[in-house]
Amino acid sequence: MSTQTATAFQLDYVKTIGSVTVQLGRGFINPYDVAVSQDGRIFVLNRCDSARAQLVRVGIINWDEDYLGEFGKGYGPGDGQLMLPVAMALDSQERFHITDEHTHQVSIFDLSGEFVKKWGSSGSGDGQFNGPAGIAIDADDHIYVADQHNHRLQKFTADGQFVTQWGGAGSEPGQFNMPWGVTVDTQGDVYVADWRNDRIQKFTSSGAFLASYGESGNSDGQLHRPSGVAVDPDGYMYISDWGNERLQVLSPDGDCVANLRGQATLSKWAEEFFAVNPDERETRAQSNLVPALPPHLSAPHHVSSQTEPYFWGPVSVKLDREGRLFVTEANRHRVQVYQRAK
């Protein structure tokens, strides 16, 4: 038994990446997920909205926020195109696997952004999807996909061969209600953001139920429509508590150790914008970034939508090899980065 005092959990804000755009090129438009390659490039999946879907793509930047390019452009059902992308994962060969809940398929692109292949079809049989959402890939290149409207998890090989599936609609342990995000920890266990059941469920890699975390609500330890989860090597769970517009962190035992509302600052692109648009900076200076709101505007989305630093639409949490946590905000077109204090 260690006599060392338990160190308090601390998560530090690092920086904000991104800004909104209406065109292809530098900028994000309803970013939904992030992936980091071994060479340190950051890939941002932009979902956009269906009225302007031609802006769907994966944008590529580095840690210094140079905009390096994009792929997956051109809204449509064809090879290399995306329609309603939800999530993105990298396999051991550093190929991107992107789920699309409109086409019910997984598209694979290589690290240079070239389309490789796509697989999947609409349905409820083995290997079929009804709204594939979250996706995670383990160390053995097994692919786990949250099959939203079939209320289940499916497991595949790296090439999309069906292995097994588990779940079913319901709220009992092991059942799901419109699951969204999926992640795998260093032990190979699978975590699922069970969206409409307001909880995170943990399973073995073959689908045996291990634990459930969270219940409906907005207090510590409670969740409202969680969309994603990431787990660090110590077993801390980082949850994008989407409906509560916050990031909640649970200890390996499931106790709430942090609830963050967000503290975004100006990104590098934002600073560059203001450097050449002083009139915009003046207008911004007259506005209140953290306004006091009337009582009837008190729901989390009311507050977040009017408060610049706060998370608005935090759909995804991802950890990279450096232990940096990327919280992707679909409604604010940016990513807030955090890191555990050493």
Binding site: C48, A270, E308, N331
Partner: protein, 468 residues
Amino acid sequence: MADKDLALMAHLMRRAGFGATREELEAYVAKGYEEVVEDLLHPERFPELDDTLFCRYYALGSTMVDATVMWHARWLYRMINTQRPLEEKMALFWHHVFATGWHKSENTPAMVHQMDTFRRNGLSDMRTILLDLSRDPAMLDWLDNNENHKSAANENYGRELLELFSMGVGNYSEQDIKNAARAFTGWTFAQPIPLYPYGYYSTHFEYREGDHDDSEKTFLGHTGRFNGEDIIDIVVQQPATPRFIARHLYNFFVADEPQVPAWQIEPPQDPEAIEAMCQAYTESDGNLRAMLRVLFNSASFKAARFKRVKSPTELIAGTIRLVGTHRFPEPGLHDLATASTAMGQFLHNAPTVEGWHTGKEWIDGGTLTERVNFAVNEMADVSKPGIQDMIQRLRAQGPAVAPETFVDTCLDLMGPLEMGDEARRALSRYAHSGGELRFGTPEEADASAARVGRMLQLIVATQEYQFG
């Protein structure tokens, strides 16, 4: 008797809501007309729509300019799926009356916030409604009240408040307008956080005392150091206010009236209905619920079937409710918004402060084509749940449905709808051309389903279908 109940209930739900399916109508009829009216007037009896489902599917934040299309689509989705139809219909009503256009501010969140305000207070009292309106940032920007200063008054909001939002022309003087404007100096909004770098933000009301003209003013015969609330207090006491609002309610819920500019010269077509609502207003301290209770329970309302040209919103929401799609987020929702805009109604974006011209002015050569083509296209796919339901109800009539029964049943399930002779003859001709409708074998069932789809397309292409 039951048929009349159903037709009456369908009429009520078309007016107080966006139409009802046959299954819903049967449940309402069982409940009883007066009780359904009370349910409509008390939306709080029913749960709010689960927005999280919609927001998961449609990543609605505050993107750029075109996000307004998606919020328009979201409102149509609400109309299709709400369990509080009158709450949504009243939000639409007030949007018609307090007509504000996104195209001036281009701030979508502010427009959405205005609609949420109408949802929240739409059935309350006139004082609350006008006070909330006078504090609404989208409205203040739309009518330049943020430029209404103690040192230099801007009369835009003061004028429209009297002319279009309460009493109507002829009930106040130019001096009243000036003094109302002065009373509202200082009523503005906080500078919203600008669009770059992270998207649009809404904002909130701000009262700047230093910019408020606190001097004595005379307004409609009263004198005092009036602020905005005082103006509203006086306005809601004027008999002209309920008369004006009641006529708007009549135009929106009962029968097409001439456009507002003509109201000074053309009297209401049903003065008794107006008077009954005015009385309810007076007895209830200006309560909209009380006025609507009188309206929905009146004989003149019940008799006013198909006396209004459907707005594009009503045409679209009503048709989609019939075919049963979009009961869950699905692709193609924003196409409904695009269709509505082509028909002349881009929600959150009234063309001018006069609002949309309604009644026959919805119809011109272009919009009529859009309206008919939209509805006809919606009926093309017979696999849609609502159309399948109609087909099953036809099948339930027996193994072979006679042509006239075919027509009668379709008209009944689509409304019940009333057809003029010419339209009725055309539908009968089509029904007779194929003989009995048979469902005995799979081939017969498929062929009959296709004929049903065709019949529904013919029905929605009639002139009669343009009325609701």
